[in-house]
Symmetry: C2
Subunit: 236 residues, 2 copies
């Protein structure tokens, strides 16, 4: 058996060994869900940027630019952080530069891992299949919310621990806890998450359909993988 | 309604507002359980120390000294961190100086709160009654394990959120998650926790009876309260 562990916040990642591990970065509402939607709908690659300025500068290199701060599209950007914007396929073969509040930080702080994937509910099973084709311990790195534990990322982590139980043992207390919580609440994700602080924030922005998308399982047979700061899709 | 939130690790406490709040520090295996056992069995006050040297020095001021590192009694100390050592009442009216791996850190990092209590399963209901006699928001500060989320502290936090639901609303995602997890696993705490990393470590030290004690509800009608670094018991 390999092992699987959870880091609930980028602020705790220094407590985890990254070397040799396959890290799955997760920011369910909405960065990693949007990345997976974009890659599955024709975007050829995504560059994740540390801040809005770095991202804005990519426009002159032919990138579409997507920027969000605190859940709202940033001024001067072509796209925000809604996964639905990509589903039409109109951005076929374009490159995307993207920055988000928490997700980009979690990716950059995963540097040093053997492999870095991007996780979301819409490609959960594809991610499981990919992981099970490798022979590595897994660290699920939740982007959280401003450094804190958040419910949607943690429940995804629990779903992934559960889905990996044939090959990966829950190594730490976080993995044990979230697997159990997903077993209890997984049948009613949206109802349970509607209590969450972040879901309430999103409701304020009228993006209920984004939430539905982000909580839908297995729409895409695609894995998102980061190499040298560039995210691409691997079709399974 | 007042509010209740959870901080899963002293490494995340800077993300929480302490001012005006009632903080409950919890280190179930075994610091805060032992503190409550000691106060309920005659120890008049407990001084929590940042390190073994500070604690050792208290012996010359007439304190009993209790010190533990990584689950084992430290060399030269009269007591370790077992709650059972106090149940005989043989230390009646003595003062105790105590240091532990994670618990002392969580107490010192709670400075700035309006009130600081010490939580344990053996005095859960007393702590609930005390809190409900105040009119304050509650922050449950889990000592964790070397900075990480741990299962026993988090489940206690969930039990406390659940017990407070008449007067305190779960304010953050951690409180929502742990309340739900306690609802699922609370009837079988020991079985569920036997999977936890810390419980496995404790089993290696042959302290199964300590674990039983630490998971027993409502043995004592006593609240542990820290003021100016000194912990005393309030009998209800």
């Amino acid at each position: 058996m390999q092992q699987v562990e959870i880091c609930f916040s980028p602020e705790l990642i220094h407590l985890h060994e990254l070397q040799g591990k396959l890290v799955v970065v997760v920011d369910i509402f909405r960065a990693t869900s949007t990345m997976v939607a974009a890659l599955a709908n024709g975007i050829s690659e995504i560059k994740t940027c540390a801040d809005l300025e770095e991202c804005r500068a990519m426009a002159s290199s032919g990138y579409l630019i997507a920027g969000e701060r605190n859940g709202i599209k940033a001024e001067g950007f072509q796209l925000g952080n809604s996964p639905l914007a990509y589903l039409s396929g109109e951005h076929q073969s374009q490159k995307l530069a993207m920055t988000t509040t928490n997700g980009t930080l979690a990716i950059s702080k995963s540097a040093g891992a053997d492999e870095i994937l991007i996780g979301s509910f819409p490609n959960l099973q594809a991610t499981v299949s990919y992981i099970q084709s490798r022979d590595k311990d897994v660290l699920i790195h939740c982007a959280g919310w401003k450094g804190k534990f958040n419910l949607e990322d943690s429940l995804y982590a629990g779903a992934l621990v559960k889905a990996l139980e044939r090959t990966h043992e829950a190594e730490d207390d976080g993995a044990i806890a979230m697997k159990s919580l997903y077993e209890k609440e997984g049948h009613n994700l949206k109802g349970f998450l509607s209590q969450a602080s972040h879901a309430k924030r999103l409701q304020n922005h009228n993006i209920d359909s984004d939430i539905d998308f982000c909580l839908t399982l297995d729409l895409f047979s695609l894995v998102g993988k980061v190499e040298n700061g560039i995210l691409t899709g691997i079709k399974l």
